[in-house]
């Protein structure tokens, strides 16, 4: 209920080489500013208390000023401000000075209301998503089809306006694998806040798998917590992979879950691990085989067969909630569940990486075709 009560982030991810350089300057300036501000506040507070009107303090002094002090508090701040300027110009120089090795791997970004189209050096296209290899510097060149947008990645401390009629560019050297925010930072109309996406940074091996179409989104399941089995999910873009996203989205793991050690709530519904094609007893005494058809009925009309020992509490997922294709995907996911694979209660699905690059594998965000793809 109070999801936002979880520990809030206080420091943005630092996921590129430039982010480190940026943060040194940021913290230097923060320190100077904090000390300077604290000095002013300390003087202010001292004066406010020391010189408050009181029986002992009734006569103000007549002080007109001091040229010496004026010079001191002109020159000292100026020197610090100039140090900000010089260091800031150097950091800026790093940000816009695209190294030759980055220029060799050039991504193109086109902004339009309200989506990002990204094309990698090998011609692979993604929408609202850019997938990068950790440790490999890349250049990103951008332009816009309509209004001014801004391609901003906070974890890289990078941002540049994407201007119609111009090419603008930035470069990144991602350092830490992970998924980060991509924002449009320049107001561009109604869907400005929808013009967001993901930056996927993959380690070298994962990146190669992703390029080959054999990438599996890692996730933390009960088995992985116990230190056994895989932390890799189904093949990205496969029916089971989509089924897993649906399983979380439809909140199936509100009842069908693995009890986590720190959660006293027991499961409200039977485990689905190793379920497929096994014999199961029903509450009316029948024994059935958990075939695809059985699973479909169990989702569409759960009261038709209730497992013995469990209450008939599952809601019916009619076609408005889950289409036939969705059920095929869910069934594929249930088929794939090995012991330890069932998620914890209300555990969130890890953010999946894009989907397999080949459209034949059923990528839900199919790469744009040569004509510019879907709008």
């Amino acid at each position: 209920m109070f999801g936002f009560m979880e520990t809030p982030p206080i420091y943005p991810d630092q996921a590129s080489k430039f982010a480190v350089e940026y943060d040194y300057l940021f913290w230097y300036m923060s320190a100077v500013v904090a000390v300077g501000g604290a000095a002013v506040y300390a003087l202010l507070i001292y004066c406010c208390f020391r010189f408050a009107k009181s029986p002992a303090n009734t006569r103000p002094q007549r002080i007109l000023g001091s040229n010496k002090l004026e010079i001191i508090w002109t020159v000292i701040p100026l020197l610090f401000f100039l140090s900000f300027f010089v260091w800031g110009a150097r950091v800026w120089d790093t940000a816009i000075g695209i190294p030759p090795e980055a220029a060799r791997r050039e991504y193109f970004v086109v902004g339009k209301q309200w989506m990002w189209k990204v094309q990698d050096p090998d011609g692979l296209r993604q929408i609202n998503e850019i997938t990068l290899e950790a440790g490999v510097p890349v250049k990103v060149t951008g332009t816009s089809e309509d209004v001014i947008h801004d391609f901003g990645i906070p974890a890289f401390r990078s941002k540049f306006d994407v201007v119609p009629g111009r090419y603008t560019a930035a470069w990144y050297e991602p350092t830490r694998p992970g998924t980060y925010h991509l924002f449009c930072d320049q107001y561009c109309g109604q869907g400005h806040s929808q013009m967001v996406g993901k930056v996927n940074v993959l380690s070298g091996a994962d990146y190669q798998e992703w390029k080959n179409g054999t990438y599996r989104t890692p996730f933390v399941n009960a088995a992985a917590m116990a230190g056994k089995a895989t932390t890799k999910g189904p093949l990205d873009g496969s029916p089971a992979w989509r089924g897993r996203l649906l399983f979380h989205k439809l909140q199936c793991n509100g009842c069908h879950f693995t009890q986590s050690p720190d959660d006293p709530t027991p499961p409200k519904a039977p485990s689905l691990e190793n379920l497929w094609m096994t014999k199961r007893e029903l509450s009316d005494g029948r024994t059935v085989t958990a075939s695809d058809e059985y699973l479909r009925t169990a989702i569409r009309n759960p009261t038709e067969h209730v497992r013995s020992g469990w209450k008939a509490i599952m809601p019916a997922f009619h076609t408005g909630l889950a289409t036939e294709l969705d059920i095929i995907d869910l069934t594929a996911y249930i088929r794939s569940l090995k012991p330890g694979d069932l998620p914890y209660r209300n555990e969130k699905s890890p953010t999946p990486i894009g989907g397999a690059p080949k459209a034949s594998q059923g990528n839900p965000n199919p790469p744009a075709g040569p004509d510019g793809g879907k709008k």
Binding site: P8, C47, P60, I63, L69, L82, A95, D146, D185
Partner: protein, 590 residues
């Protein structure tokens, strides 16, 4: 050099603990006060108000106008902040949100922050502070009010027929080609209110040059007048560029001639250059008058001469001049050239210095004072505390390297609210509370006014502190929907915004109540030195019973026995400040 004895006031005055700039008139007896004719009740008819050329009445009409628009802008931001309670938008559709934040920005900037202090306090007190009967061009002054009101009508109309969704910055090609909202009406409103700003600036410059009373040298001008003078110069030179820019955008939108349209060879960044050429100096139009108010309030409640009169006065002029040359720091990321950005970043660091000088001088002014904490003083101290945060965080945005990550995030929102609201809004409150007794002749409730000041300051600080954090985390501005991990900061900000809102509602009650139930303020309830206090409250229709003659600088508080020490003080003052010229400071009339 004329001997100092000729400067001596020839009217004996009672022992004072301060030295007014001129000889104060005697306090009125209650009978005299009751039957007195003053600017409020002389010709107190509707036409008498609507066609008045009295700068004080025009100031009061501005007060009514800007208060209404402040309420409108506050309602808009109430919607914005409430919507941000949840990551998916609590109450508004995307379009509605975009219109709400645009309404907040345009109304607060063009119809509140720019006119509020020049329109109300500048109109009312610049002539009084320099001992004049009115502005240099009283009819022009009335005209600039009506031009402003006429321009404001277009904003109201634009809101009524569906609003504007471009943000106050109106960047093309979004505003000229893609937005289907009322860009033209809003542009017309900006264009017309701009002329009001130009005319007011012109009037104040002429007034300060030509209308100063005998003895009111430039070195004896209250610093509020210096600040208003610097502001007027910016208004006069900057606003025409905004007008040109808006006309270009309108022509572009109507006829598609392609000045800003890259598809037919135009350049959208050209608009940004022209827009910020006005709009960066415009932030100084908004803050300089506020800084001027702070000088008056601090000196009075600390009973101190301002520390470094010349430094404070010239820092206003410095801000006005250098402030014209820093606009490019809004466009570091818009594809601006490296060396051009370097020049703008360098000048930005220079323009930060005069603001720092002012803060140091204000702090030093308190040293050795006898400080009392009435509402104006609490607001003024709030100004210093909050403006310091606003100024220091501005350094992060003016530095090229750090601007990359912080540009267009909530860090920017927090920064400029700390300067515009933490600065200007609190200066306005300080000024309004300081001069309210002079404007109305009534005192407001001491308790409620202090409480409101504290609620406002605390509420304000807590509203915008979380926004620095969420901005550094990367939350972009103008986002009705945002990633859920930013929610805690937005909830904190909204909660504090409600507290702040309560603070801002309170003066409406106790100030209005003071008009009916407040006790009589007397001529000079704060024992202040300025000329505007050396007359009755409310002032006569022509301000002073007789043309005042100024003998002293504006902030002679720390002097026991007041005028009794004329000779000694005058010698000291002449020595210390060098403000006495061979002409004995008489610059006009006699």
């Amino acid at each position: 050099m004329v001997s100092t004895t000729t400067m001596r006031p020839d009217v004996p005055v009672e022992k004072l603990d301060y030295t007014p700039q001129t000889v104060p008139p005697p306090e009125l007896t209650p009978e005299q006060a009751r039957g007195r004719t003053h600017y409020l009740n002389a010709d107190n008819t509707l036409l008498g108000w609507l066609l008045t050329v009295d700068h004080k009445r025009i100031g009061m009409m501005y007060l009514l106008g800007v208060t209404l628009f402040f309420v409108a802008g506050a309602i808009a931001v109430g919607l914005v902040r409430t919507n941000l309670i949840t990551p998916t938008g609590a109450i508004l559709e995307l379009d509605q949100y975009n219109k709400a934040f645009t309404a907040h920005g345009t109304i607060m900037l063009f119809l509140f922050l720019i006119p509020v202090v020049p329109g109300v306090l500048g109109n009312f007190f610049v002539p009084m502070m320099i001992g004049a009967k009115d502005m240099a061009f009283p009819k022009l002054n009335l005209m600039s009010f009506y031009v402003w009101a006429f321009g404001a009508l277009f904003f109201i109309y634009q809101l009524m027929v569906g609003g504007l969704d471009t943000g106050w910055t109106l960047y093309p090609p979004y505003s000229t080609k893609y937005s289907h909202t009322n860009v033209l009406y809003a542009g017309l409103g900006i264009f017309i209110t701009g002329f009001s700003s130009i005319l007011t600036g012109l009037n104040i410059i002429a007034t300060v040059h030509k209308m100063r009373c005998p003895g009111m040298t430039w070195g004896r001008l209250p610093l509020f007048v210096w600040a208003m003078y610097a502001t007027s110069v910016i208004q006069l030179l900057g606003t025409p560029v905004l007008a040109v820019t808006v006309v270009m955008a309108a022509v572009e939108k109507l006829f598609g001639i392609g000045i800003f349209d890259p598809t037919i060879g135009g350049d959208p960044v050209l608009f940004q250059h022209m827009f910020w050429f006005y709009s960066h100096p415009a932030v100084y139009i908004m803050i300089l008058p506020g800084m001027g108010v702070i000088n008056e309030v601090l000196t009075c409640f600390a009973r101190k001469n301002i520390f470094g009169y010349a430094a404070v006065a010239w820092s206003s002029v410095g801000i006005a001049v250098v402030g014209f040359l820093v606009w490019g720091h809004h466009m570091f990321l818009a594809g601006q050239g490296y060396y051009l950005s370097m020049v703008f970043a360098f000048l930005t660091m220079l323009v930060a210095v005069p603001s720092a000088i002012k803060v140091f001088n204000w702090t030093a002014t308190l040293y050795g004072g006898v400080i009392t904490y009435q509402a104006p003083m609490i607001h003024a101290l709030g100004f210093i505390v909050l403006f310091t945060v606003g100024g220091l965080t501005g350094l992060f945005l003016g530095t090229m390297g750090t601007d990359i990550h912080l540009h267009d995030t909530y860090f920017v929102i927090a920064h400029f609210h700390y300067t515009m609201v933490g600065g200007m809004m609190f200066a306005w409150q300080a000024g309004l509370h300081f001069w309210w007794p002079k404007m109305t002749g009534r005192m407001y409730s001491d308790f409620w006014s202090r409480l409101a000041a504290i609620v406002m300051i605390v509420g304000f600080a807590l509203t915008f502190l979380p926004q620095f954090a969420v901005g550094y985390l990367g939350m972009p501005r103008r986002y009705p929907n945002y990633p859920p991990e930013f929610q805690i900061y937005n909830v904190m900000s909204t909660a504090a915004a409600y507290i702040q809102g309560i603070g801002f509602i309170m003066p409406a009650f106790y100030l209005t109540a003071s008009l009916f139930f407040g006790k009589s303020a007397g001529n000079n309830p704060y024992r202040a030195t300025g000329l505007e206090w050396q007359t009755h409250s409310p002032p006569d229709a022509h301000n002073f019973p007789a043309t005042p003659r100024v003998y002293f600088g504006p902030y002679e508080y720390g002097v026991p026995d007041g005028l009794a020490l004329v000779d000694k003080l005058d010698a000291q003052h002449a020595h210390a400040n060098g403000t006495h010229t061979a002409k004995e400071g008489v610059t006009s009339g006699s």
